[in-house]
């Protein structure tokens, strides 16, 4: 399959002051781009060249580390950019809001659980909101560039929201204060886009 490295859906400074311009720029043009380049280079002429990324992830335990790390890094950041928006924040609506209330009790309780998953992930990794195969919601986290689509994941599912908690995602602005970064994420979280992914998944 042919993979592309897309522009951000907003300007690098669009998420200021919650996420600073320099962080966004380096994160996208250096980190994300390097994952993309290493991933596509590793795919070339490999047995994975014709597969979809979902197929690759579903058998990632048999793939070399270069595919796992860079394929994950490529996919996860694509999702991440679409979980934030300059018009973000506020509350989810529609069926996602109903599902969150039903599963977690309230938006606040959901946020508390998600914050815990993101703060407690030791080292580098991601926190996720996933839709499981029975269409229920679940919160989890994974190490490094793993994700819940990978057969190695503790929690399996399709992520609709991902939060990068590698230090590179926040260190220039927040340094050691990861909880402050997580708090700031809720000011830019793109519920509209997350809600659309959720509705697409449950109607499949």
């Amino acid at each position: 399959m042919k993979f592309e490295f897309a522009e951000l859906p907003y300007a690098y400074d669009a998420l200021e002051p919650h996420i600073d311009k320099q962080t966004m720029e380096i994160h996208h043009t250096k980190h994300h781009k390097a994952y993309f380049e290493k991933f596509t280079a590793a795919l070339n002429d490999s047995e994975y060249a014709d597969k979809s990324i979902e197929e690759i992830f579903a058998n990632i335990s048999k793939a070399p580390a270069v595919i796992r790390n860079n394929g994950g890094g490529y996919y996860n950041h694509n999702l991440f950019w679409h979980c934030m928006s300059p018009n973000g924040g506020g509350n989810p609506t529609g069926r996602l809001a109903e599902a969150i209330n039903q599963k977690f009790g309230s938006l606040d309780e959901f946020k508390t659980k998600f914050n815990e998953a993101a703060s407690n992930r030791f080292g580098s990794g991601w926190a996720w909101l996933c839709v499981k195969s029975d269409k229920s919601l679940s919160i989890c986290s994974s190490a490094n560039q793993d994700n819940p689509l990978m057969d190695v994941a503790d929690c399996m599912g399709t992520p609709v929201m991902g939060l990068d908690v590698w230090e590179h995602a926040y260190y220039l602005k927040y340094q050691n204060r990861r909880p402050d970064y997580i708090g700031a994420f809720w000011n830019v979280v793109d519920w509209k886009s997350i809600g659309e992914r959720y509705e697409r998944l449950i109607s499949q």
Binding site: I26, G123, S124, Q145, H168, N176
Partner: protein, 278 residues
């Protein structure tokens, strides 16, 4: 030259008290260094009538201190002393926030448990049976102590003495060694450490890397050994100055390696393998 030696010696002094109780508690008899342990730096220390930093007994007491008595010691240099290799703000946050956080969390994790009286080396030797709070914070505390000791404003160059010989015989030459070590640091994906360690079974030097705050003393390590040179490759160790360019940070790191400290660790620890296995 003398100034450099004196600095090295005082750094060693500052360094080796990092794990142990304050000097006042244990007054050990001073023993003249044996020929193989003798270096100019250590002679200088003896001339100034201080305990010998290379004496194995000191290293044993350093490792054998009950965990609850471990102290969070001052950095052996100013925050800006490693500029421009490591910037002042990074050293300050790294030491005062990250490292201190690991220390405090480690103390909290052992408090009131049987681990309070256990030396940290024994905790590592059985780390698979302890909680992740103990594993992450004991590792985080210990690894950073090593890291700060391994660096010096006066660092750089190449090791000499027994360590220099051992590096040459194990890796061929210093250049090959430093390239392999750098590669271990670069290729550790995510957060972690690169290490030069003494194999617990054979006494050989080897290079390895570990994830997060693990280290080669842990019984979960791929190859177990006593670490003598530590390189932190968590992004917090370099991001303010180098951002995504970890390779540049690693290249610069060599300019500040405190070889007298690494040599002292090698000389002090190489006969302690049996102690560290328990």
């Amino acid at each position: 030259m003398n100034l450099k030696l004196m600095l090295s010696a005082s750094l060693l002094m500052a360094a080796f008290t990092a794990f142990s109780q304050s000097e006042t508690k244990e007054k050990k008899p001073r023993v003249k260094p044996t020929r193989s342990q003798s270096t100019s730096a250590s002679d200088r220390v003896n001339q100034r009538d201080r305990p010998h930093p290379l004496k194995p007994a000191r290293f044993i007491s350093e490792w054998m201190t009950p965990s609850s008595e471990l102290k969070f010691n001052n950095l052996p240099y100013a925050y800006n002393a490693l500029e421009p290799v490591i910037d002042s703000k990074t050293v300050e946050i790294h030491y005062d926030k990250h490292h201190r956080g690991y220390y405090n969390n480690f103390m909290a994790a052992v408090k009131g448990t049987e681990l309070e009286k256990m030396p940290i080396s024994r905790i590592f030797a059985n780390i698979s049976s302890h909680s992740s709070a103990v594993r992450n914070n004991a590792g985080g505390f210990f690894n950073h102590v090593l890291y700060w000791q391994n660096l010096s404003p006066d660092g750089g160059g190449e090791p000499s003495g027994e360590l220099g010989k051992a590096i040459n015989s194990t890796f061929g030459d210093f250049k090959t060694f430093s390239e392999k070590f750098s590669e271990a640091g670069k290729s550790r994906f995510g957060s972690g450490w690169a290490w030069l360690a003494i194999d617990l079974n054979t006494g050989e030097l080897f290079i390895t890397s570990t994830a997060n705050q693990d280290n080669p003393l842990m019984n979960t390590a791929e190859r177990r050994g006593i670490p003598i040179l530590a390189l932190d490759v968590w992004e917090h160790a370099y991001y303010l100055n180098y951002q995504n360019k970890r390779a540049d940070y690693i290249t610069a790191f060599w300019k500040k390696v405190n070889w007298p400290d690494v040599e002292a660790k090698y000389n002090g620890y190489k006969d302690m393998r049996e102690e560290m296995k328990k």
